[in-house]
Point group: C2
Chain length 434, copies 2
């Protein structure tokens, strides 16, 4: 009989009972099921309340980026990521930046946008004015939804209304601007939008439909800058001043080509998202905000723009800067309940969401600088190679004591492949048994 | 004395020694340090080889989405995510879709793009032709870098060369198109680009600089479609046909407004990235590819486009479709070495990267449909509310046996806030102790 994934009442089962179903479904061995086990420091109840249909956990390695100094304060930065080289690259870039004082970072106020869509408005231009005329009472009603946020200095700040033509008729979209303070803001903003939607629809003389936060958080920006001295960028074969020019050339391609820009921005997000994950924040929200902001910044037929910029200052130093929307929070969501996220926030020592965003922007800039430095000099593969080679060697069946010798050979040959690792492993074992 | 994050030799220390530094750095308690402990099913050595400066792990809850049927095959889908409602929403959407046969999905061949940038070309148009004239030998040299990939039916397929004006002079960019088979392709493509770069630079009469994969994988697309019957979309207050029209209205805003589109696409990625994480793939690569593709699809002054489309078929059903670049792999990277990623691939039962991409596209469509259904009917908050309320109740200090009663009150009042949870908790305890 064919298997059916329609399993009624799965959500009501215990974790153990769900696992039993998985075992039968895919013939999982005990060892495979054990790979889902919770870490000893995590109460399974916390996870079972966090999402639905929980059967266990999926774990990232957590590495620490060193050398970070942002606004004259030192940080050890926790990064949860599966990709080799990212933690090392961030640490190296931060080391070069700190020679000139480290990163200087700022944030705008933590203003999030909530959207309320209104349809079937006979007179959209006038409808827009009717909503705007009621702004004060709408803001008041919004703030009544979350007195705690208001108490801590946040709350609804302003209201904008846009008129948008569409294939299904002209729509009104009200934007509620909410200062979310130290929260990412999703719950506060969504609750406010849902409360205001009927009023806004009535004022416009139409009917409200969508009422939800926007991840394109253009008013909640983090910015950072750092100076990289040429003499610290030199390699065996390139002078520092040559590396500066090469980085500017490499950066420029991202500014003119979406195929390069996608990867340029991906490298930035390697740094940012690894810390976003480690602090229990929502990386899909941050990724969407960053990449869509990159598209919003593109002009004159361009598709996307790099989130970073590189220039040469009068002294010939390379100066990097970044600007990116970063709607991260320290209260609410997983950040408030996940023990490792809480430990990571304490480790970072950030006092608020703004400070976290400043660190994130700095890490993003560091990551991007490190990638450009590698691309402008030895190529990206060498940095990836050694750790990748360690994985390949392990996958090929090497025992811990055999790994180092196989890695050395793979890297020297610049052939990091399982087939080659297996050959070397066989050679090694053959020569060892002789 | 001020603390310095510049800790020399940190990378050479043992995990235990690194932890000791963290403890002193941030005054971490034993319980906080224990939050970094590895799960019992994970060999710390695997993680220590995966990235640098490892001190422990960060763990996602893993939930199972039920009801998925893609191309006539049933799947239980592992999702690693911290956000409430995502797993439940995917399961619900898949249940509605399977009434009409589930998801129908395809993929293009797994062609990745590698870029080689060439600068200082005196005659770029002619330089482009010189590179193209040498295509066969360049492809041959590329394929010599990875005989295993060629053996399994992949390898370099084609070469394109673009001429791109820039503020630092006209650049040539060669695009090497590589069939990556069941790998994400980063290592194979980067190695090939690095090998070809000197030749390409010489052929063009310039110098090569960047040589790296592009995450804008426009040739590696996954597509899925599903039909949702109106009678299965009805609520207490809305007929199914009304819900279909409301979903079309809600979708249309994403098609005309980047502020809505960012969140629309974020919802799609909630589904896709949760499975990308669970299978050990690189979510930054997938997020960058998807969002930049959304920007590339935008035309006539638009910023981004939704990755999904909704239409009404002749019978009045809602038909959803998705098209998204999905450069995921089953071999190499964390997928090959992470025990939980391996268990999840086995649980999914996918035979290749193409099948995984088809499931991912289907999950993305399901997630997006579920969000639109919620937004078009009861609003997004109700679905989020109960689980969010469970977290809030736990954060407010409720014991397991107190959680349910507090959640019920919070949801009934539509006030999911810690201050209110604390009040209710005090009330409960006061009345209980009386």
């Amino acid at each position: 009989m064919e298997k059916s994934s329609k399993i009624s009442g799965f959500y009501r089962l215990s974790i153990e009972a769900r696992r039993k179903i998985l075992r039968e479904w895919a013939d999982l061995t005990d060892a495979e099921l054990a790979a889902y086990d919770f870490p000893p420091g995590i109460d399974p109840g916390i996870f079972d309340r966090m999402i639905e249909n929980v059967v266990g956990s999926y774990t990232y390695p957590l590495g620490i980026a060193t050398n970070f100094r942002v606004n004259q304060k030192d940080y050890l930065v926790p990064m949860a990521i599966e990709e080799p080289s990212v933690v090392a690259a961030a640490s190296n870039a931060a080391k070069i930046a700190r020679a000139e004082g480290g990163f200087s970072a700022q944030t705008t106020p933590p203003i999030m946008i909530g959207q309320v869509q209104v349809l079937d408005v006979a007179d959209p231009a006038a409808g827009r004015l009717r909503i705007l005329a009621a702004k004060e009472s709408l803001l008041e009603k919004a703030n009544a939804q979350d007195p705690m946020l208001v108490k801590f200095g946040g709350g609804a700040r302003d209201l904008e209304v846009r008129v948008i033509p569409s294939p299904r008729g002209t729509m009104l979209v009200a934007h509620l601007l909410v200062d979310a303070r130290d929260a990412a803001g999703m719950n506060a903003v969504n609750t406010m939008c849902e409360a205001l939607a009927p009023d806004i629809g009535r004022l416009a003389g139409g009917r409200s439909l969508l009422r939800i936060i926007s991840n394109l958080a253009i008013y909640r920006l983090a910015r950072a800058t750092a100076t990289f001295r040429p003499d610290l960028l030199a390699t065996d074969t390139m002078k520092g001043t040559e590396v500066v020019e090469a980085i500017l050339d490499a950066y420029t391609l991202a500014a003119v080509d979406p195929f390069r820009c996608a990867t340029h921005n991906k490298g930035i997000m390697n740094g940012i998202s690894a810390v976003v994950v480690a602090t229990g924040n929502d990386f899909r929200a941050i990724e969407s905000g960053a990449h869509t902001y990159a598209a919003l910044q593109a002009k004159e037929g361009a598709v996307v723009k790099p989130l970073t910029t590189y220039e040469k200052d009068r002294a010939g130093n390379l100066v990097g800067s970044i600007e990116v929307p970063l709607a991260v929070g320290l209260i609410g969501g997983a950040t408030a309940v996940h023990p490792t996220a809480k430990a990571n926030v304490k480790l970072l020592g950030v006092k608020g969401a703004a400070e976290l965003a400043q660190v994130l922007a700095s890490v993003g800039l560091a990551q991007n600088f490190a990638a450009l430095w590698a691309l402008a000099t030895e190529g990206i593969q060498r940095g990836h190679m050694e750790l990748h080679a360690r994985n390949v060697a392990a996958t090929a069946g090497a025992r811990p004591e055999e790994v180092d010798r196989i890695v050395a050979r793979l890297v020297a040959e610049r052939k990091i492949r399982i087939d080659r690792a297996k050959e070397i492993l066989e050679e090694l074992r053959a020569s060892g048994s002789r």
